[in-house]
Amino acid sequence: MFEPRLNQAQILEYTKGRMGISAVPGSGKTHTLSYLASQLILTGDLENDQEILIVTLVNSAVDNFTTRISGFVRAAGLLDNVGYRVRTLHGLAHDIILERPDLAGLSSQFTIVDEVESDRMIEQITTAYNRLHPELAEFLLKTSVDLAQVNRSRNGWPQLITTLNQNFISQAKDLQAEPEDILRKIEHYQCSDVLLEMGVEVYQQYQRGLRYRNALDFSDLIRLAYRVLESDPAFLERLRYRWPYVLEDEAQDSSSIQEKMLRLLVGAEGNWVRVGDPNQAIYETFTTANPRFLRNFLKEEGVRSMSLPHSGRSNISILNLANNLIEWTRNHHPVSDLRDSLDVPFIEPTPQGDPQPNPIDHPHAIYIRNANTTPDEEIRIVVENIKRWLPQNPDKTLAVLCPIGWYGEKVADALHKAEIPMVELLKSSQSTRKIASIVEKVLLAIANPNDAGNNSEAIKQILKVGINEDDQVEEVNRLTTAIRKCNRMEEFYYPVPGREWSTGLELPDASEALLERLDDLRQKFIRWHLATSLPIDQLILTVAQDLFTSPAELALAHKFALLLEFSADLHPEYLLPDFASELAEISGNIRKFNGFSDEELRFNPDDHKGEVFVSTYHKAKGLEWDRVYLMSVNNYDFPSAQEFDNYIGEKWFIREDFNPHAEVLDRLTGLLTNNAQLITAPPGAATRQARLDYASERLRLLFVGITRARQSLVITWNTGSRKNEPQRMALPLEALYAYWSSSNEPA
């Protein structure tokens, strides 16, 4: 039973109108919001066709909310899936468009390309553009730089301009501009440059590509939903009736179009509750998201402004450290423009007698490593520390957070080598990747029925499912090695009359049961051979029905079938190995794919005690662990707008003090919002502002990292990869170190 504390109870008194809630990390906002939703369902005057709409930021939160609300509603004896709808903003936009696609200029059968396909399209268009426009490199590169060299380097020139165009397109869509709108503005203001020209042309061709595929991308969803809502007042009215209450979580990360969409949906008289923490706004770089939207809302007339300042998540030492970061930023940050990066209220511990008391404090709650270390050294120290700590705390949860994904992968490799159990929050779950891998291998095997290597690999993967004992695994390995050596696969699958399928194989000793399984599997392969004449989706379903039994696995295979059917539409020339490659991207974790396993629907760190969780700071948002390692807190990953800082967005090969992303996006924004100051700003102005914005966001990212820890926190940093230009400890970390050292000094 949920027992609200005083501030939470005050929020639960809400019955109608507008309310804004500023909630500190660990204040129980999800719980409070879920309970509020269930209260409105139970006590409100909802009609049968009305719902409470809960809007969240990420998919995992959807399931979290659904589980909680259905629990509360069920406990009250009502149907647990009626009267509410939980959606991400994109999910909500999709719902809206699906109801009236005509108003968005779509037919009912539109599809949505995922990020991989969208990135691929932009990359192809950009590459072609780059080939035809040598002036682009002339404009952007330092004169001393050799284009051939940057073309070859990892994260080099091609990737930079592709990302530039991705950001351009995404921003243009956020500002609801079609390529033609931008061209008109360019003409109107007589303002153009090579970056704008590239952005518009790539955008134009990209849109043409999407139209040809009858598809949208994720950024289109919100702007088209907004267009639909704006187009037909009667439809808007119907939705306002359907959703008399809108409860919004993580409101600090709303972009301008997202906020506009919800504002329109709620209407002037509607009931809207927005919960968020401006200090946890970490999605602002090169987007139109801004915690300012939430701050302004809290000050709006007619809005009841509330706060949830108590948090029972961390012990006092960690809370104090987080509060010290707020205090230092607001009062002592050397750059005055950055002092409002973090906002009050400070986090308060829960009151005495609270059902969620703060964990007991201890003298080693925090450790900040001061010494210079190289990245490899930093990883080695952290891994060794974990290796010592983990066996002593098998019932505790632990996370290692890195600012950048590839650094996280290096940490994961080191943990793997040290044989430390690990869980990764990756693009797709392990079970999804496993299923994708099996289907991929089967496709390769049936594409090449006489290739003993492909066939033995597929057979091995399938026979190993459900086997745990080492000796059984070994038995399967021996058997499939024999198949790999077979030089007449046609005899294995289709022996001529009078011969056995096993005749041509040098079969090792194997149990009857395993041989029976192999023979059964052989029969399945024969069936699948004939099924290769079917369209790819039907082939996948045939294979899946023969291989998988659990509903979640079959549903996942169904989703693969639809994905590949879509690929077949896009690429009519695709053959089986090409489809296998698509699946390989999922099994190899290159491509994000949402499956149906619990890992994907809801990730709960407490299910992974005794294992190490490795992820980026961003992905850790909303989660908490007993012990947290924050790595790489140097002035490259956490710059502070100082002379000596370097910035990720400013590549070494680009002309001095010029961040092309910032420059072109500011110009674009200026054009589309008729902001003369942005349009006429001299080169470099946007770069300077971007540095400030980035530094500000990184302060909040550090705050998010600190507040993930319940009982202990370790912070380390490294000198970076450039030996001649070593990084230093991030400025805010220096301040935290000073605070921590002084508070640890013996009295």
Partner: protein
């Protein structure tokens, strides 16, 4: 009478209608399942038995599938001998009349070559020619703000033309009508204008080439044939009696024609399903049909259903009220507890398994025929159709599916013969890939398994050889010949020789070439399609489609001889042509098979069943119409007030009406029980809560109350 159905016992009301005088016009009304069509089919027999000449009777239906009861009657062993009645759609009648009176009307109708013959375009060939008109303007930037698949673009432009013909307004009004009702962004207005421009260009193209697509057929009939006295006289001379079934599913121009025709006929029986109008989105107009009913001399209403049980009847009323009022139905609807059940699932495959096991259960004691069961969905994706089909095959449940949009090219037999055709015509430069060749050989040669077909295609097929790509079997090393087997090698040689001998000979008449390939090789013993009747049906359909294409084909450049064979293969592969259901008809006779298909197809089939399965009741597809950004069936209808905007109020209302009509239509065609399935994640893994689910929640509440009362 349907196969396997009990003998028809007629009510007094039915007998009165059948035996009504052989003069004057009569409107027969009633809900589905009240025995109207049975009655009308027996009226046909009565007319002939009473002395009317068979060929003086015209039976009109809006769609060919709705003529089934009349065909059954005419083909019955004891049907009176003599002239046969004409069983036609309005379009079929138009075609006959155009064929007869072409020389008389071609000048006035605006055709350029009045001395030359004409050709009717099928939907496919119309799309083919329209594509040639639209593709160049797409390059110029037409339809830029629209996200749409090109084939759908073509079909919607044609749809606008067809709407103009069936409603009766000139194509030059298409854009204005659509624009006046448009409420969204103004960019759409340009799109409408461009769609109209393409439609008019296509019309002009047809007039210049003596082509008649569906819309031009109707327009020519309406404006040039029917007004002509000679034509009128011809019709009256030929037809004295009319039976016109399902008038509510037909177009306003058909109603106009019949309205004109009626006074000159000896007798007429018009039949109206009072809850029908399912084809509204295709242009059917129940209110226009009602106007036609008003001019009949007599009206007769059949009230009692032969189909639905009282519980289903109660359910229909309660659900109808729930949908129309959005509230829990008030009043006493009577008990319906046993008429339906709702089962909930998390994932889609669970639903499929459950439905199959339930069907197996129903069929166990052999008292229920498979034809008494229908599995209905709002849409039927290929993947879903296949999932159901393969599971039903596995447990040997006979079934029939209807999904008209399945492409002919997806049939393995069709792919096989086309792959062989591409090999035999190297000059087309369309040589297939080795995987296609592997599959074609594995299917074409009976004893060649997949792995050996792989060896064969890898060793003997040389795509790089532009002159001839299939090498002889004896060019292989002995070891490889042994692996593939000599017997399979012999069959391969027969096929290869045939292809070589007939190399390049199918360019102008590919249909003949395919027909010979099938007849002389592939259907012979030792070859893959020897006893495969599904393959035979698919290839027959292919040959027919190919012949029709050849008949209308005109090369782009008239000075260069055309290549219809190559052109046909290419357009088929690009999905423009032959999107028609093939296998479904050949699989099972309807009465012996479970029906699997979209609810709309089931309604148009008009055969009641005892058990229905409604799959995924949460889907929005039960409620919302198919959105087509270039056209709008309601705005282009005769009932639309051109001064109004099409807003969500209209959209919502029309969808609610369609849902109510759909569910009533289904329940009126159900005798005993509806199994409804709700699923948390739809086929694409999304959560949906459509209006049908919301309406059923109300019904579920009443059902719970009824059960409680029973238990007290």
């Amino acid at each position: 009478m349907q196969d396997g159905m009990p003998a028809v016992v007629l009510t007094n009301d039915q007998t009165t209608v059948i035996n009504s005088p052989m003069s004057g016009s009569l409107l027969l009304k009633g809900q589905a399942g009240t025995g109207k069509s049975t009655c009308a089919a027996l009226r046909l027999r009565y007319l002939i038995e009473s002395g009317a000449a068979g060929d003086s009777i015209l039976v009109l239906v809006p769609q060919r599938s709705l003529a089934a009861p009349y065909y059954a009657q005419v083909h019955a062993a004891d049907f009176p001998a003599g002239g046969q009645p004409s069983l036609l759609t309005f379009n079929g009648l138009s075609q006959r009349m155009i064929a007869l009176f072409w020389p008389l009307i071609n000048t006035s109708a605006g055709f350029t070559h009045t001395k030359a013959p004409f050709k009717f375009l099928t939907i496919e060939s119309a799309q083919y020619y329209l594509a040639k008109i639209v593709e160049p303007v797409l390059q110029q930037g037409y339809f830029e703000s629209l996200t749409i698949d090109p084939n759908r673009l073509f079909s919607q432009i044609l749809d606008n033309l067809n709407k103009s013909a069936i409603v009766g307004f000139p194509p030059s009004e298409i854009a204005a009508r659509l624009s006046n009702a448009w409420i969204g962004k103004p960019t759409q207005l340009k799109i409408y204008q461009q769609a109209e421009e393409c439609a008019i260009r296509f019309r002009q193209f047809c007039l210049e080439h003596n082509y008649l697509d569906f819309s031009l057929q109707l327009s020519v009939f309406k404006e040039h044939i029917w007004p002509s006295l000679i034509c009128k006289e011809f019709i009256y001379k030929n037809y004295q009696h009319l039976i016109y079934d399902n008038i509510e599913e037909d177009y306003p121009v058909a109603h106009d024609f019949v309205s004109d025709l009626l006074p000159g006929l000896t007798s007429a029986l018009l039949i109206q399903d009072t809850g029908g109008g399912y084809r509204s989105f295709l242009g059917a107009d129940p209110s226009s049909a009602a106007r036609l009913g008003n001019i009949c001399k007599g009206v007769y209403t059949l009230k009692d259903s032969f189909v639905k049980s009282p519980a289903i009847d109660n359910l229909e009323n309660a659900l109808d009220e729930s949908i129309r009022t959005h509230r829990q139905p008030g009043g006493d609807h009577g008990k319906f507890s046993d008429s339906f059940s709702i089962s909930s699932f998390r994932f889609y495959p669970e639903v499929i398994d459950w439905v199959i096991s339930k069907i197996q259960e129903l069929l166990t004691d052999n008292t229920i025929l498979p034809g008494e069961i229908a599995v209905l969905t709002p849409f039927l994706s290929d993947a879903l159709r296949f999932s159901f089909a393969s599971r039903m095959d596995a447990v040997k449940i006979p079934f029939t599916t209807h999904r008209p949009s399945r492409s002919l090219y997806d049939e393995p037999a069709v792919r096989t013969v086309l792959t062989l055709a591409r090999i035999a015509h190297p000059s087309w430069c369309l040589l297939p890939g080795s995987q296609e060749v592997r599959m074609a050989l594995a299917l074409a040669i009976q004893e060649l398994d997949y792995a050996r077909a792989d060896l064969l295609s890898r060793t003997l097929y040389q795509r790089g050889n532009r002159d001839w790509s299939l090498n002889a079997f004896d060019t292989l090393k002995i070891d490889m010949q042994e692996r593939i087997t000599y017997h399979a090698g012999q069959q391969y040689e027969i096929l290869r020789n045939w292809l070589f001998e007939n190399k390049e000979s199918g360019t102008s008449e590919l249909d003949h070439w395919l027909s010979r390939l099938y007849g002389e090789v592939l259907s012979q013993p030792g070859f893959g399609f020897h006893t495969d009747y599904d393959a035979a049906a698919a290839i027959a359909h292919l040959i027919d489609s190919c012949r029709k294409f050849r008949n209308i084909y005109t090369p782009d450049n008239l000075s260069v001889p055309g290549n219809p064979g190559k052109e046909y293969v290419q357009v088929l592969e690009h999905g423009i042509l032959a999107a028609q259901s093939v296998a479904s008809q050949s699989r099972q006779s309807a009465s012996n098979a479970v029906f699997l298909g979209p609810a709309f197809s089931f309604l148009m089939r008009n055969q009641p069943v005892s058990y229905q399965f409604w799959v995924d009741i949460g889907s929005q597809g039960w409620w919302s119409r198919l959105e087509q950004p270039l056209t709008q069936p309601y705005v282009l209808s005769r009932n639309w007030d051109p001064s109004k905007l099409w807003t969500d109020v209209e959209e919502y209302e029309i969808n609610q009406q369609s849902l109510a009509r759909l569910t009533s239509g289904l329940l009126r065609r159900c005798r005993d029980h509806v199994y409804m399935c709700s699923v948390a994640y739809n086929e694409r893994g999304l959560e949906e809560r459509g209006q049908l689910l919301l309406a059923l929640q109300n019904i579920q509440r009443i059902k719970a109350r009824q059960s409680e009362a029973d238990n007290v």
